[in-house]
Subunit: 328 residues, 6 copies
């Protein structure tokens, strides 16, 4: 997978077609009566239609079969995933977690979906406000199965073991010290190569963006050119026994079957895509004479709350700590 290609930039209007189908991306219009190669045109919206330019997000996907051609969804077990934190008693003490154990693949095959554990959260996905923090621990790739989160964006931080993510937009290899974002409603499948573990930050009702830099100027922290978006890749793959789509919707899991791979997007264009970032590229900035800056100086990406004042927790007491690593 060393040969994976990416396009650089954050929030660009990207365009990509699989080189096996030259001309598959319609030119000069989004929605021809007949698309090249007989493909189906679909728009995937990441914002209200009426958002101003700087927050309007959508992509057009040209695929072999339409994404709606699946059987009905039915509920499935949520395992250790939950959104019911209101049922947990609050605890004002400082907490710490021991590393979650990764099951041995020789004992139990666990893929990315089965290996999801919710750690904590606030708000809820129905009212489109809040966040959740999950861990994943797995030892097996997802086979003829994909995941789709209808509730929000997933920022995935591998801690042990690289993960190969196949999406409707193409493939990304994400290694420890890299992060990636799969936005709301994008279907993806995760391949792993060993015992694998990582963190997930889920945000409801907002997308991640680069922070404004103020006096730092036009360059600094995470530079937009260092974000990488996959190039179009498709498989025309029939799955007689059924391809499974798992959908997280309002905090619960649902699954349905279809008889083909959802990774059948031959070409796409738009500014609503998955992407990854290597933390080594973070242009670290800090005090160089005396004192030290607040940890917000290590912000890579931010997802704005509707409370201006409360973008992160308030009323914290800070003693003097060092923050050696980037702050997401």
């Amino acid at each position: 997978m060393a040969g994976l290609k990416y396009m650089s930039g954050f929030g660009n209007e990207f365009a990509s077609e699989d080189s096996r189908c030259p001309g598959s991306l319609p030119e000069g219009q989004n929605n021809p009566q007949v698309c090249p190669y007989g493909l189906y045109a679909e728009q995937l919206s990441g914002s209200a239609f009426t958002c101003p330019r700087s927050t309007n997000k959508r992509s057009w996907l040209y695929r072999i079969l339409p994404s709606v051609r699946h059987k009905p969804f039915s509920p499935m077990s949520c395992g250790d995933l939950t959104e019911s934190w209101n049922e947990v008693e609050p605890d004002p003490n400082q907490l710490r977690w021991k590393p979650f154990n990764i099951p041995k693949s020789s004992e139990k095959k666990v893929d990315f979906i089965l290996g999801l554990h919710t750690v904590c959260g606030a708000g809820d996905s129905k009212s489109r406000n809040g966040i959740a923090i999950h861990m994943y621990t797995c030892n097996t790739s997802m086979i003829d199965k994909c995941f789709q989160n209808a509730d929000g964006d997933l920022l995935i931080v591998p801690q042990q073991g690289e993960i190969l993510i196949t999406t409707e937009f193409g493939k990304m290899m994400v290694e420890p010290n890299e992060i990636c974002v799969i936005q709301q409603g994008m279907r993806f499948s995760v391949d792993v190569f060993r015992e694998t573990r990582g963190y997930i930050l889920e945000v409801f009702g907002a997308h991640f963006e680069l922070p404004d830099l103020g006096p730092i100027g036009a360059n600094g922290l995470a530079n937009p050119r260092d974000f990488q978006t996959p190039v179009a890749w498709y498989e025309d793959h029939t799955v007689a026994i059924g391809y499974t789509i798992v959908n997280k919707y309002q905090g619960k899991l649902f699954s349905c079957q279809q008889d083909f791979s959802p990774f059948n997007v031959v070409a796409w264009h738009g500014n609503y895509t998955p992407y990854k970032y290597n933390l080594e590229n973070f242009m670290v900035i800090n005090c160089v004479a005396f004192d030290h800056a607040d940890p917000s100086i290590f912000t890579v990406l931010t997802a704005k709350s509707t409370h201006d004042v409360l973008n992160n927790a308030v009323s914290n007491r800070h003693s003097c700590l060092s923050h050696p690593s980037a702050w997401l």
Copy 2:
């Protein structure tokens, strides 16, 4: 009722007095020590007092008896009205409803209030965020009874049968292909003339407004002059056996009695009023060369969410559909 008169404009500072009481509207001040005809002055606020001009909503009503002169409210059955959607299991499948049956008036007398059924919703009225969708099916006019929604604005869309709405501000006849809005806290009574059915969109914590048009320019979609507001009309009507006020408050119904009709407003002025609109006046705009626009191009009215990005649902997959009718 062919003779009903309306004033044109959206959000105007209207002024109206019943022609039976010339001079009933105080001139040059809102709140004289003694009002003409001994009327009582009341302000009905539709926004915080301190809102800037463009969102500050209130009207002054001059009435025969004050609106507070009623007996205490007590709870009553909510029938098929509910706000408890958090108790319903989520379902990610696409849903569709068969038309709700309208009860035969020969079998059971059902008026507008009894005929309310909640279909779905999100958020809640207490935190003043969210919406609900209801149907109404009825066959009988409301007699000595009025309704008042303390929870939000009601956009009413008759589907079968015209409805005659008497409000504190006057009377409106609303027919299929017309829509009307009764804003939070306004008392109204509904007369029907046959088996009658329609839709209601309720919004909590926001008022409907005309969308900004951007490059469309100064004219287009729903033009403000085509909105119609009733003229003042009152009845000086004593109801010995008791006039019933039904109040929806935090999603529940309550009722109280008073001994006179609440439609005793002789004159009023202000920019917080009920209004109606005929969809035939919608100035349709769309692509004229190739492709088609998103369905937001059919917006008649909008009620802004506090999430900029999320004025309507995000992350939808759209195949190519035609949208022949206006989008509310």
Copy 3:
């Protein structure tokens, strides 16, 4: 002229037609292929087409002959009107003016245009930023002549003698202790009835609006319902010897001829209109316990500058003064 009628409200979407031509206002659309009575439809824009609703200003006028049917403009003498204040030496001293003398009509016939004197100003009309202050002194009505200011809005404050203003939108009688606003590009003619004098505040690049009231709440200072807009009135009046249009454009006067009265608008609708206000209706607010408020508490109308901080002059030294009259 006691019989003049007005519509009440500030910034309303008004609609009016001359009662001599019932049905002259097109219904349900602005621009029919053939207008009622064969009238010509014209849009008069008071803002960029793309302004958001709260600042988008335009009216549709339905007239007997189009307004462009005039001969070319040629320069004429500007008399005492000027925009060349950059050529005047600055003077930091406090200044005061004696009343301008009004010429005797027995000596010299002076109408409103001839009687204009510029007192001072800042900015310029070309870059659409700034204001000018003028006086008018006159003794004669304008005959077959109208004025149009292409440079900005005129707030007219009669000090001695009422003025009857005929506009494309109808007629207004404005007396001392009243004020009126004729917005940019509106044609008008002034009739006077004695020796007459008043003040004019001209603003370039902004329209007058009611100030937001903040904690004062929903009522107070100049209430919107006390503003009065004329009703449609037209004359179908041929002027063989030529009707004169005087145009102030970039600070200079130009005139042209046409063979009919410009006051030929039979019906109109829109939110860009002339209006008047009686200062007696000002709902005065001030300190009732100790100290006194800044004179901004007497604001009737405001025209916002692009400098937030500098809506009026800065760095003034104030001793304790009483401000007995309204502050414009």
Copy 4:
């Protein structure tokens, strides 16, 4: 306690050191490697780190021992404090309370914390949106015990009996007709001198601020210079049997022990502080000619909601009332 000193101003960048330790406030930097007198530097944040200047709130405290040196928190009884208003049935009738009885100190010793009763509320502290209204009735000072509210700011209005509030920032004496604000996360202890009663308004997710005054101008209502902030005061006080910290966190009470007084801050600087205000200094403004203004004209402090339109309750019916006292 007549000798208590205060610093004047609202939202100032204050700086204060206890006169017993001259030079205890580090100069020219916030966080020296070694602070004067060996003090510990702590930042107490009242907003997200990244807020713009006008809403960025934080103070630096220099203390004898760090505030984290306490034993773990454990739940305790909440008494009459609650945040579970969703479990209460709604009631649309107008309500009124009789004064809460103050327990006799001869019968039962009740301090400020034990004497808290929740009256009503809306929203919740977890999602950082909403308010609660509490009463306090007490007869005994808090001994070796302090309170800290992790959920929001407390606006305290003594109704009977003055209260002496010791905070990490210093001491304030607050008497009836004065109000004070203890912001989120600040530790304080209350001494009383008789049977004592008052009101508390708690806001989640916003801080109190002075309202913009609009046309009222640069002076009026509550003037910033009349707000008073305490000066630094510390005690180096060991409590062998244990000093108790009571923490309200997500609507529940928790307590922990430490062996020293938390009021060990020798010097501090910043703009996040407790403060008090005497209502006699309110510069009352109202109508002086006719009508009366909405009660928002009596606003002392405001805490903005995220709904612009809904800063206070909407859709109220107002008859004519007088509002003799200041409106918080």
Copy 5:
């Protein structure tokens, strides 16, 4: 030149290197101590350093020799270029121009710079506010000469004859019915192939952007993916007799000499670039039932004024016209 390549998207963070120098674009940082191939790193800023993300514009150029290595500028003749419109008398009449004659190349060699004629304008470049409209007529390519406009952005509209524009960012061929934008400070040279003529719109103090679309939704008018930006191209070209740089600065022309071509940028990245657009890709939207929309519906690009209300001219009278072509 059929082989010219472009990158698609509007305002993207582009990255490009000339294929003759693989690896010339530094990875993971902007400004290494030693750049690949010994290139010089330069940042070209198109906005204040401190602008928020959505308006922050800059590119990094990696070049063979630094751009500052030129001899001093000296004034040269401005020909028919001017910024002194304040010296022209205003004229309120509607104006029209006959086509400008193109000089015959057999009679007089005229290149793009010599062929510039100012038609009109407003504001001035020094205060960074306003626009100018120019024509160009030419018959000869620019030889060892480039142009740079320090005053604003140039939107170039070829009317007759295609133009080949060589820029520091690469080459663009622009034909009639295409438009291109060369932003402030970018050096470029124009080759022509016949008698050539076109229009130029210059804006001071703002960059062109795509208009927000409001209810039109996520697609429509000029779609971002149809804008084309050149790919990196360089020449390592010594010009012994002197390469001429012509600089328009505060409305006047200056020239200087250097001994190498300025088109020596081997690689670059950033979001401040030249671009072109083919008007055939404009997704036309208009009324489809009755009336017609304002001409703003044909907006391709917009450059915002600081007056919200006045993005384009106000107070125009419009009769009914058809606007068959795109409106810039």
Copy 6:
């Protein structure tokens, strides 16, 4: 002058009274009928009355005689001060100045006003937009003479020789490596102690403010607590031969006489004051891993332009430079 005291904080609501007149500051109101000691109350406004809190600037001064008690102003020579840069030919070359010579006091007595030289500028003070840069070179203190700039704020940067500035608010000693700001309309006098030279940045129509810090967080660059404001100091000083006030108004100098010192303010309070800052306190922040930040990272104070995009110059080409000193 080692004993000069200052109050710390930026933009605080300060209050100060000269210790010789205890109680001279009125309590609980700004404008008593009779002030303590018979002082005169004056408000000095630094912004429009109607600005929101965060930009509303004014102070109340309590003085022995009112500031208006002076004779009329008359023009005086402007020396090397000018605002007529439009008359200078533009020059696009990079410029540099040799140090201005300081006249020997033995040869010619030159005070601060006589020693002002304008270097360059843009915009103009009349339209309240733009800046000017001046030098001062002087060798003599101002005797019975003060300066007042009606055109904007002065940021003064001593380069050689400390200056003692007496203002209406008190005295400040400003040494090289310190800066100070005298805001619009404040009277001040400068004492020098040797041959003295420095820079002045004048801004029209905006005040200096601390930049928002974005991800830098709540601390960093110039911290608000390190700004210093003088304490009240007055002299009751009669000047029989006349005290001279020099006023810069619209770019020209004017002078007038009065028979007493203007530094007769016994007490004052407010947030519109002069202040100084020592550059040693600047908390320097920069890149600590690779590359370097734009020079905006050295911003001490900023004065916002009305063009968002153009807070500082655009379209600059930057090679790699080090910026060893703070950037104002």
